[in-house]
Amino acid sequence: MKRNSSQKGLIARILRLVLRQKGLIAASLLFSLGYVVLTLAVPVLTGNAIDRMIGAGQVDFAQIGKVLLQILLCVGAAALLQWGMNAVNNRISFAAVRDLRRAVFDHVTRLELRVLDAHPTGELLSRIVTDAEQLSDGLNMTLSQLFPGVVTLIASLVFMLTISPAITAVVFVLTPLSLLLARFVASRTFKMFSRQSEVRGQLTAYTNEMLSGLYTVKAFDREQQTAARFDEINRELEGVSLRATFFSSLTNPTTRFMYAVIYAVVAVIGCFSAVAGGITVGGLSAFLSYTNQYTKPFNEITAVITELQNAFASAARIFDLLDTPAIQEPTAQLPEARGAVEFENVAFSYHPEKPLLRDIDLKIQPGQRIAIVGPTGCGKTTLINLLMRFYDVDNGVIRVDGTDIRTVSRESLRRSFGMVLQDTWLRSGTIRENIAYGKPDATEQEIVAAAKAAHAHSFIRRLPDGYDTVLGEDGGSLSQGQKQLLCIARVMLCLPPILLLDEATSSIDAMTELRIQKAFDEMMRSRTSFVVAHRLSTIRNADVILVMQDGRIVEQGNHDTLLAQNGLYRELYQSQFATQEEL
């Protein structure tokens, strides 16, 4: 019941979306109406022509010439209208998918990261790309087949009635039979198709998992077992797919058969009627071609309805995403920050049942360098998520320069931060564009200076196109370390007052890191910086070292005071210097 009402709401919503192009829709309907009626008029005219050629010496050439001219006019006009209809329909559905995609993407850029992180990338992508496409296909089919189909159905009935009401009645009686048959096939097909896509999904998931883990599969000699399991699913798919294909391919023969039956009945009755003078031979010829026209839309309508089911499911997924509330942005701006950061009684968790951060209290002066250390999973990266307002605190307040960061726009807040993450994301585009990502109007000198500061200049120059080298998706063929250098250059160009470095040098080889460290030191001077790192050299020079464990700051101080405390920091520190005897 609920599904039914939500289905109705869904259709209403899709209609609203479509009706934005009222003029085009009206044109499409008008064109298809004209096209169908003209197409249907042709058999009548053909029949008329045939009626004027009864036998040897009984051919009325003058009249036939007239009728043939009429046929040509009708055909020409019908063809023009059909072309117009096709063109308009294409426009409507392509524009609809474009607008929808854009709306979904825009909405995604305004969603909380909490929402985005909760969905796998592939799933969001398939909503943006595949589901939108599916909806547009459904729309196109509705306009180009469903509506003309229905019109054809009704108009052929009308035409048939004008030729012979009696035979029409017979056809009308036979119709439900063919509908029932089509329905039976369609419902079977639908079931088989859902089963098929289910098994296909299993196969895709399995393939994905095993190919991603291929190295391990090889190392443990599991190729045979892996392929055996694949074949198992594959065999299941073969059976399911055989049935789905077979059942779906029954639609045409069965309706063709129904058509043959109706055709036979009409032919027999028509001939009787012609003998009795109830119908002319030309009329019978027209009638026979109508029975053909009349049964054809059933096929199409059934196909469209299946397609529409898919389109509705896609629409539901898209609307579901669009209905997720977007971020509400305060209009207040954070002025250029000096770099004072304060955590007051902050608590946070990704999942309410698993508290992560608790009782975080922290006061940082402008220009201080803060290192965050602790075991894996203790919440280091989460601190950065909160500072950038990728996530909001559950409890407590974070202040920058005394301003609660929730009271200013995220954009202005983030302009005060420069961030380098372990995950090196680059945009597809040239190296120059990537370095200037945070400051698109940067001059050539600024870009080169930033690249030099990040020690990226020398490898960039060695690339065939230098700064104009186009990077493919995810940095293309650059090594992990080179990508990280570009990420650093990207921040070097903006030089915001607060820096967040989360394992920023993890993929850079030791020699380069040594050099880059100097550049970092330079950059961090007079800037507030938060550094998450494993390497001690990075940590030791920090003004404040925060030692985190289980979501709390358990120790706080500089290197020397912390070592003296004989606590977790000392343990971590010593493990790095574990001597031969300890091993």
Partner: protein
């Protein structure tokens, strides 16, 4: 294409019978207009005659249905079989590819080939078997039938069929490249979307959402323009064929009128001719749809064949051997290696020897050849020159299963599979009991967190171990390798997600339980390798130093620099 034919040969009977039955159906269909013409012209012969003719029409319908259903079944059978065989082969082919080839092609591409493309091929085969003979046959048949009715009128059929083929051919030729183009534009939209989602933190950190929206909208606009262009062109197909067929109908009527007037043709025969004309139209629409499906299928087939064309690396070794002597567990003698047999060498002239119970630390920057080095030991790749000896026997000469049995490898990227923790650990050794599994977990510092999971060993992991943290995954991978009780244990930067404290505990535990095992530790951390019996420093694929920590510290400048950087000046004492 050859490959496809080979698959089709597997279901030879269905492949041959499907089109034949389809043709049979067409034959019966072609008789219908003749019967109807006969009925119209002889309707004066009475009820009995008309009813038997009506019965004949019905019988034609039933036989047509029966042969169509048979044909559809055979076609579906052959297509499903072909798809299944192709998928199975492609999967095996993929598992044989080298890591470099996988990286170059990309997993998502492989999956697309495996699923979407093969499905497309399957549909293509199905449609081909069903329609490719039928449509031309109906068209040709209608023409032949027209000749049996009247040769002069039939000439119109010949002309119209020629014109139709020309028009359909031309339009397909014009639209195909446009469709291809649009596919790449759609890919661009997809890429833009994916790129945004994977980099969403950076985009937001730099407050570039507006530009992202703009650039995405622009890609959508480009796609829209392309789709409209292709759409307008393909929108011509229906109206054009309609006009051509009807012009021909008018011509038939004109000729028919003359022929009737001279008494050569009857009314019924003219109607039959008109009916044949409309059969051609219907078949033509199907045929042009078939062409679209087929060309999609062909494109997919060639994409699949591109993957088949990737030559998997020569996997070494067939001759079995279990001989063991006093030779070192692992020995490399002047080994060089390059991935594609030519081009830049990833390893150059590497030699070392590692005995049982000894530990070798391998250290070097990213891209220095560490992972390549360890991949030679289980003979994932054969050395280009020099020798890789395992127990004194060349790695290539080992039976690969016997060789892999000796080796426990923990890859850089922790890879687990959906299933229970137990089923994952059993990859190491199918016969291991729970006690052995727990012992391995204990050593790998994983026992604690496994205990805490619901169900312990039976805790279900999601695909790729997604419900575990990076460190937990790594520890399970280490445990999996230990379950095997390997003679050679290789850890490829396997502890990089662990913090130093856990890493140290792990190394201590490993030391305790690997008295007879040759251990290779690959790392970027000095702390991880400093306790090893030998340390191999790799730089750009070449050995830059080999010795103990102390030796290297004394006489190797590069190693020393690395230590200063990671441990600090004073730690070197």
């Amino acid at each position: 294409m050859k490959r496809l034919l080979r698959y089709l040969r597997q279901s030879l009977i269905q492949t041959i019978l499907a089109p034949l039955f389809k043709m049979l159906e067409a034959v019966f269909e072609l008789f219908v207009p003749l019967v109807v013409a006969d009925m119209i012209d002889n309707s004066h012969l009475g009820t009995q005659y008309l009813l038997t003719r009506g019965g004949l029409l019905l019988a034609l319908g039933v036989i047509g249905l029966a042969s169509a259903v048979t044909a559809q079944y055979f076609a579906a059978r052959a297509a499903a079989r072909t798809g299944t065989l192709m998928r199975s082969d492609l999967f095996r082919h993929c598992t044989a590819l080298s890591y470099t080839q996988m990286d170059q092609t990309g997993i998502s591409t492989l999956i697309q080939r495996m699923t979407g493309d093969i499905n497309q091929v399957q549909t293509g085969v199905n449609m081909f078997l069903r329609l490719f003979l039928r449509s031309p046959f109906v068209v040709a048949g209608a023409m032949v039938m027209a000749f049996t009715v009247n040769a002069k009128a039939a000439l119109i059929f010949v002309a119209v069929i020629a014109v139709l083929f020309a028009v359909v051919g031309l339009l397909t030729k014009l639209t195909m490249p446009l469709y291809k183009h649009n596919q790449s534009r759609l890919d661009a939209v997809l890429r833009a979307g994916r790129e945004h989602l994977t980099g969403v933190r950076v985009v937001r950190a730099f407050a570039r959402e507006e530009e992202e929206r703009h650039s995405f909208a622009q890609k959508g606009e480009v796609l829209f323009a392309g789709q409209r262009k292709a759409g307008h062109l393909s929108a011509l197909l229906g109206p054009l064929t309609y006009v051509i067929i009807n012009l021909a109908t008018v011509a038939v009527l004109q000729v028919g009128a003359v022929q009737i007037d001279t008494g050569i043709l009857t009314m019924g025969e003219v109607i039959a001719l008109v009916n044949y004309m409309s059969q051609i139209l219907i078949e033509l629409v199907k045929f042009s749809n078939l062409i679209i499906t087929l060309s999609r299928g062909m494109a997919s087939l060639s994409r699949v064949n591109d993957i088949f064309a990737l030559e998997p690396p020569q996997t070494a070794g067939q001759s079995a051997s279990t001989a063991s002597c006093d030779a070192p567990a692992v020995e490399l003698r002047n080994v060089s290696f390059s991935y594609h047999g030519e081009g830049k060498e990833a390893l150059r002239d590497v030699s070392f020897s590692l005995g049982r119970g000894q530990t070798l630390g391998v250290i070097g920057a990213t891209g220095s050849g560490k992972t390549t080095l360890i991949q030679l030991i289980p003979a994932f790749y054969p050395a280009s020159s020099g020798q890789v000896l395992i127990d004194g026997i060349r790695a290539e000469e080992w039976d690969s299963t016997a060789l892999h049995q000796k080796i426990g490898i923990v890859p850089q990227k922790a890879q687990l599979f959906s299933g229970s923790i137990r089923s994952n650990l059993l990859w190491g050794d199918e016969t291991a009991d729970d006690a052995a599994l727990w012992q391995a977990l204990e050593t790998a510092q994983a026992a604690d967190f496994v205990h805490r999971k619901d169900g312990g060993l039976d805790h279900e992991l999601e695909a790729d171990g997604a419900n575990l943290s990076g460190g937990q995954k790594q520890r399970l991978c280490i445990a999996r390798a230990l379950v095997r009780n390997p003679e050679i244990l290789i850890l490829d930067d396997a502890a990089c997600a662990l913090d130093y404290a856990t890493d140290a505990k792990l190394r201590k535990a490993l030391k305790g339980c690997t008295q007879q095992t040759a251990v290779i530790l690959v790392s970027q951390r000095i702390a991880t390798v400093r306790g090893a019996d030998q340390i191999l420093l790799l730089e750009d694929g070449e050995v830059a130093g080999l010795g103990t920590h102390e030796q290297l510290l004394q006489n190797n400048e590069a190693y020393r620099e690395l230590c200063v950087l990671q441990l600090g000046e004073e730690a070197l004492g």
